[in-house]
């Protein structure tokens, strides 16, 4: 199988600080890949580079053998990437439904004139969009909140809404930054099911998470970063027993 997303020699420096150093990585179609590592290891930075927030100091990112770094943020999204944010960033003055529908705007075929004159084409498109948005909300279990303001949602639901919004962009690759943070064990378990379902419906998923139970159960492969260096890559089983990883990240006293 061909690798879908290939990251080679990625380096990111902030002044004197090297947040990422020569990181190589491959993600294949339909996989769930986890990125783990201690705090400040550079995981979020990796996401930021992939989605075009930062321009890397060195290295390339290829999607289907096409270089994507250097593109603008919105161009990358239109290639099929979508992400969630570690610090939740929902649109606070828009309803939950609008937050999701907003994700579809980048795929809209309606021109500005269609929008101004409310042409049948635009109305048709909007109807489809709304239907799809409601479906996505339903999958994420947020349908009851659809007209609420996202700020009034509990933290965990806000995280789900972020995923819903990302899905709405019609992405094929989802980048989830700590999707389970702030969720209790029950909710994490639900999320696990949701994420697996997403994979089954064809999404490729890259996720960052500190909840090891979640990561080990859902990911096909893991990359471990430490101080910006890739220290280990492999299946959850391999990673779990890697002494470097245990030393730097997991800790020895795994009780459960």
């Amino acid at each position: 199988m061909n690798a879908n997303l290939v990251v080679t020699g990625l380096t990111q420096k902030f002044g004197g600080l090297t947040a990422l150093n020569d990181v190589n990585m491959e993600v294949r179609f339909g996989e769930i890949v986890g990125v783990i590592g201690p705090n400040g290891a550079g995981k979020t930075t990796l996401f930021n580079i992939i989605t075009g927030v930062y321009q890397p100091t060195a290295g390339t990112i290829m999607l289907n053998e096409k270089k994507i770094n250097g593109l603008k943020k919105y161009e990358i999204t239109r290639l099929g990437f979508a992400r969630t944010f570690q610090n939740i960033r929902l649109f606070k003055q828009m309803s939950v439904l609008d937050n999701v529908m907003m994700g579809m705007c980048c795929r809209s075929k309606a021109s500005i004139f269609d929008n101004l004159f409310n042409t049948p084409k635009k109305r048709r498109e909007e109807k489809l969009q709304e239907q799809k948005a409601l479906e996505i909300l339903e999958t994420m279990g947020l349908l009851d909140y659809k007209y609420d303001s996202p700020a009034s949602l509990p933290y965990g639901e806000q995280r789900r809404l972020e995923i819903a919004r990302a899905m709405a962009t019609d992405a094929t690759i989802l980048l989830l930054d700590e999707p389970a943070a702030g969720m209790n064990e029950q909710e994490t378990a639900d999320l696990l099911i949701t994420v697996s379902k997403l994979r089954d419906s064809g999404y490729t998923i890259i996720l960052i998470e500190h909840d090891m139970k979640f990561v080990m159960n859902v990911c096909d492969r893991l990359y471990v970063l430490n101080h910006g260096e890739l220290i280990c890559a492999g299946t959850p089983g391999e990673v779990k027993t890697n002494p470097d990883v245990i030393n730097a990240y997991l800790g020895k006293e795994e009780e459960e």
Binding site: K73, F85, F91, M94
Partner: protein, 344 residues
């Protein structure tokens, strides 16, 4: 306490009623405002109501930038002025017919909008505000100084009135109707726009622009298009305004006047079309009602502004989204129906 609660309930009731019957209410309103000039012969009433209509159009255009895109802009009046001058000059020097002059005003203003949007919309927040303020001042100073074209501070006088099919429409009544037609069209266009994908993109830029861009929105493009649409609307009414008042002067197009529009739409409620209507009408009519107070007028006006903001910080109808309310109510009804149906 109880009475406040009661008021609140009554208020939500009214809003819900309006939300549910938008179309009939609109029709009734349009009939009333269309009939208005035929019920009065008072020129002053006509003048003020025509001004209200023009102000609402400008308020709506500004709201597009400030309410939906979240950028305080002082450029509204600059574009209005550009439209007015372009319209007046094109009628007087090029001999364009009225409607063509309005289109010319619109295109000119949109052109300027494009020019300043090109580099400046990368700026955010107050940085954009000050640039638009500077732009407004520069335009006014050009209007003042380019005497060969604009007659500077002498103003342009004797601008021919609006002509339709060769008939000069000098009466207040005819101008009122034209202004009303412009307003209705602009309102429909803006309503369409903000309720579309474009509107969603705008609102998301307002709430969090980097997140919006990460969700695939070309924010520079959207902002620019929006800015230009707003400028075009201002230019169009500007050209109409020139032909309506027949005398234009740079002092009508200062950033201080822009500030008045900013106040109007914040007063009415940012990001709300009915709010803009209300804010613009109240703040156009109120100073007129207070004429009798002479020099105390502005003093009281200032005090009212503070009091109003203290008690209704979001403006009269801030972020009131009738479409959303309607959807909510329909949704609620559906649910209760379903429950009721299950019971049987």
């Amino acid at each position: 306490m109880k009475s406040i609660n009661f008021l609140k309930k009554a208020w939500t009731g009214v809003i819900e009623f309006i939300a549910m019957h938008q179309i009939p209410i609109m029709i009734i309103l349009i009939i009333i405002v269309t009939a208005f000039p035929f019920l009065t012969t008072n020129k002053y009433f006509l003048r003020i109501s025509t001004l209200c209509l023009i102000n609402i159009v400008l308020g709506l255009a500004l709201n597009l930038v400030q309410g939906y895109m979240g950028q305080m802009s002082f450029a509204t009046v600059a574009f209005f002025g550009i439209g007015a001058y372009a319209g007046a000059l094109s009628v007087m020097r090029l001999g364009l017919p009225s409607l063509a002059a309005m289109v010319f005003g619109m295109v000119t203003a949109a052109g300027f909008g494009f020019l300043i949007a090109l580099p400046t919309l990368k700026l955010k927040g107050y940085y954009l505000s000050i640039v638009t303020m500077g732009f407004c001042e520069i335009i006014r100073i050009v209007e003042m100084n380019w005497q060969e074209l604009t007659r500077g501070s002498l103003g342009i006088m004797n601008i021919p009135s609006v002509t339709i099919f060769g008939n000069k429409l000098k009466s207040g009544r005819a101008n009122y109707i034209i202004a009303l037609i412009i307003l209705v069209i602009v309102t429909i266009l803006i309503k369409n726009l903000v309720n579309s994908n474009f509107g969603l993109s705008l609102k998301s830029i307002r709430d969090d622009d980097s997140a919006a861009e990460t969700m695939g929105i070309n924010i520079v493009h959207i902002k620019r298009v929006n800015f230009i649409i707003s400028a075009a609307i201002c230019g169009f009414v500007g050209a109409f305004y020139a032909q309506y008042v027949t005398f234009i002067h740079p002092s009508s197009f200062t950033s201080a006047v822009s500030q008045e529009y900013i106040v109007m739409i914040i007063f009415g409620g940012l990001g709300s079309i009915p709010g803009t209507f209300l804010g613009c009408i109240i703040l156009t009519v109120l100073p007129e009602l207070m004429r009798g107070l002479l020099q105390y007028r502005l003093l009281i006006y200032g005090a009212l502004m503070v009091i109003m903001m203290n008690f209704m910080p979001g403006g009269l109808l801030g972020n009131l989204d009738l479409k959303l309310i309607r959807k909510k109510i329909l949704d609620r009804r559906k649910k209760t129906e379903r429950k009721g149906g299950g019971g049987e």
